[in-house]
Symmetry: C2
Subunit: 324 residues, 2 copies
Amino acid sequence: MDSADGLQTPQLTFEEGVKAFFDSAPPFENGDGISEKLKQFIAHNSSPPDGNARRVVCVTSGGTTAPLEQRCVRYVDNFSSGHRGATSTEYFLKAGYAVIFLYRRGSFQPFCRSLPDDPLLECFESTSDSNIRVREAHAEAVKRAIIDHHAAVADGLLLKLPYITIFEYLQMLQMTAMSMRCLGRHAMFYLSAAVSDFYVPWKDMVEHKIQSGQSDLLDVKLVQVPKMLKVLREKWAPSAFCISFKLETDTNILLKKASTALEKYKMHAVVANELSTRKEEVVVVTGSARITVRRDKSTNDDVENPLIKLLSGKHDSYIEESSR
Amino acid sequence: MDSADGLQTPQLTFEEGVKAFFDSAPPFENGDGISEKLKQFIAHNSSPPDGNARRVVCVTSGGTTAPLEQRCVRYVDNFSSGHRGATSTEYFLKAGYAVIFLYRRGSFQPFCRSLPDDPLLECFESTSDSNIRVREAHAEAVKRAIIDHHAAVADGLLLKLPYITIFEYLQMLQMTAMSMRCLGRHAMFYLSAAVSDFYVPWKDMVEHKIQSGQSDLLDVKLVQVPKMLKVLREKWAPSAFCISFKLETDTNILLKKASTALEKYKMHAVVANELSTRKEEVVVVTGSARITVRRDKSTNDDVENPLIKLLSGKHDSYIEESSR
């Protein structure tokens, strides 16, 4: 696999690249419905019946796909279980935030991460009188998952929006950001999704399934997805507190890349994590510090617990700054 | 996206290509455990306590992935929900077969296909006394899924083996085929999985995550997966009754490609299906006929019901042929 330096492509400015991406996207289905849900959710949380306005965080979770064919059979996928986003959502709710959970369909859901892969078949069994019951070992986890999850949704504190492709993801992120503008500094973006770096523009895609057998080799050429973090910060949500993530398998380049991202996209913090140790520790990189956050093994805690406490505190300071 | 005709690659014979594929695969984990499960399952069904030996079918289901990186973050995926394989498994069990269900982790499971995407959260609700119960609308479907699924597994009639990558899929298919050789003509392969046509050999893969930002374009070169249907028929399971599938989005080339596959890989039948109508009708292509199989809309039947009846009948004839 090589970077195809020799290929001729028109040089686009950054703005042209962003426009080209959205122009090349397939039609966004049910945009009006999603827009209405967002509006109601934000109204509910910014002026709730009890008078205590909540801060709102948009948590992105799971990986995006880049289709290779219009009638999609094949696609390039970015692996992400969604464990980080789902777990963080629970701690954001605990910290008093309302959460817009923008997740890859089929990835981990908040309150469900301790359940096995296929919870219905794994956690339940049949009884001798032809009925079903929860297996003893899973009883508490299943009950908590259902009760806590439904309570957060019913109380209007958790809005779930599923995506699959990079097109859907960025269309929904834009829509969410525009809806959250009215919250000013009380809005946060916690961008833990694994977003495709490369895509095939919709118009360049073959309509039908790519045929094998015509050659021994398949050569797939993908173009870079414009860095939407920059657009999010500058245009979509200029006042929001923005956290992005950097995941690498090579520790040698991780912190350097996190610092570069912080500066380049003007993030308020970048969470650096290494694939093999990401559930144990992360490093929060800000303009002034690199803070290592570790989970407390003695209490079997999640690393997301101290992480969200730290970020929530930084968000407090960010909100206070503006009133000085 | 182009076929890269101009690229120089060593020309391998077919046998060399097969060897190169398996040599290039990552180590197969838990091979001994799976081999032992297969042995027990086949022994149980070929000489069961009641003396009535069962025919055994290996149903493959879902899509395979081709990793682009050794420490896998990105991969090319083949879309398949696994609906065909899961539904067919139910009808094979009904027709008296024992089923080895080789499925993509996370794809549809037998008896569960009428449930929503996320059955635990969608089908259950909390009660006022802090307990949980099945929602009325899903009660029957949930009960049937759990009871029927667990009964098939408990009775030793359903063995489930999950895979993710093309490497795991072909390693397990080979292992399954070798275990089923002792069944002779009583074995069937029903190959409904969407198998990658192209892959990146393990040794050619970069170890770490591919870096974006070094170029505007990413050029991914994949080589063809050897046509293992041929190896299955000739080497792994020469006496078994073999059904393969052909899925296309372009009806114009579908039947021609199905006939070519039938001849080239010496399948006993090829099931041709078109992406948009695949739940309504399929065409079974054999050496002597093309039989269109349609679902009965008036009874809201599945197309897999008449399909499995037809194929099971053809398998009967195939078994009888040998005793003439």
